[in-house]
């Protein structure tokens, strides 16, 4: 977390739109990447937009128990699920096409394996292995008990490892 993040959050909570724009610029890349991995690139931007708007409206209630990035990721996760529910979509069509052309058969097989699990399983993999959140932080973001998260992660990692 940046040193000035708490100050930016406080200013944004006080209604400073410029401070919030800095937070948006700072966090949009990670949030959009996370959501793209879970619900696909197109839906990801809509979910990210919902998340930022909801975060802006809820900043007055943010108490800083979790870092701003983790709090935002949780809002984004719930926004993505809401979006998918409203759209009635079941299929995932994330960034597989882009990465399938990358070097190495193992990487291609890994991408195929990553496409297979449920949204929650993919989200757990991305947050823990790609974004560096701890198991407890990831559990909080996804609204899962820690034990459930650890079981999910172990099963997904094993499944991906077998496929790679």
């Amino acid at each position: 977390m940046h040193d000035d993040e708490a100050a930016l959050v406080a200013r944004a909570a006080g209604g400073d739109r410029r401070a919030f724009a800095v937070l948006v610029a700072r966090h949009q890349g990670r949030l959009r990447h996370f959501l793209a991995r879970v619900v696909g690139t197109h839906a990801a931007d809509d979910a990210a937009q919902d998340a930022f708007v909801k975060a802006w409206l809820a900043l007055g209630r943010y108490r800083g128990e979790a870092g701003f990035g983790a709090w935002l990721a949780g809002i984004g996760w719930r926004a993505a699920l809401d979006l998918r529910r409203r759209a009635g979509e079941t299929a995932w069509h994330a960034e597989r096409d882009e990465v399938a052309e990358g070097p190495g058969a193992a990487r291609v097989e890994l991408e195929r394996a990553l496409a297979a699990p449920t949204e929650t399983e993919r989200a757990a993999l991305v947050l823990t292995h790609g974004h560096g959140w701890s198991h407890s932080e990831t559990a909080a973001i996804l609204g899962l008990p820690l034990g459930t998260l650890k079981s999910l992660d172990a099963a997904d990692t094993h499944q991906s490892e077998m496929a790679a």
Partner: protein, 56 residues
């Protein structure tokens, strides 16, 4: 526990890490517009900070 010395964990981390990219100013502007619209369409939204004693 994630072990980045493990070749598979390293491959997984590489595949799932967010790319380093310059912030998308168009997306930031889109958020600003969406916030303006949300505050316009939800009468209570503009006063979201009232309960926290924050300035508007």
């Amino acid at each position: 526990m994630i072990d980045h010395d493990d070749p598979f964990d390293a491959l997984l981390a590489e595949a799932l890490s967010p790319p380093a990219r310059v912030p998308d100013t168009g997306f930031t502007a889109r958020i600003g517009t969406a916030i303006t619209e949300a505050e316009r369409s939800a009468p209570g939204a503009a006063a979201r900070c009232a309960g926290s004693g924050a300035r508007r």
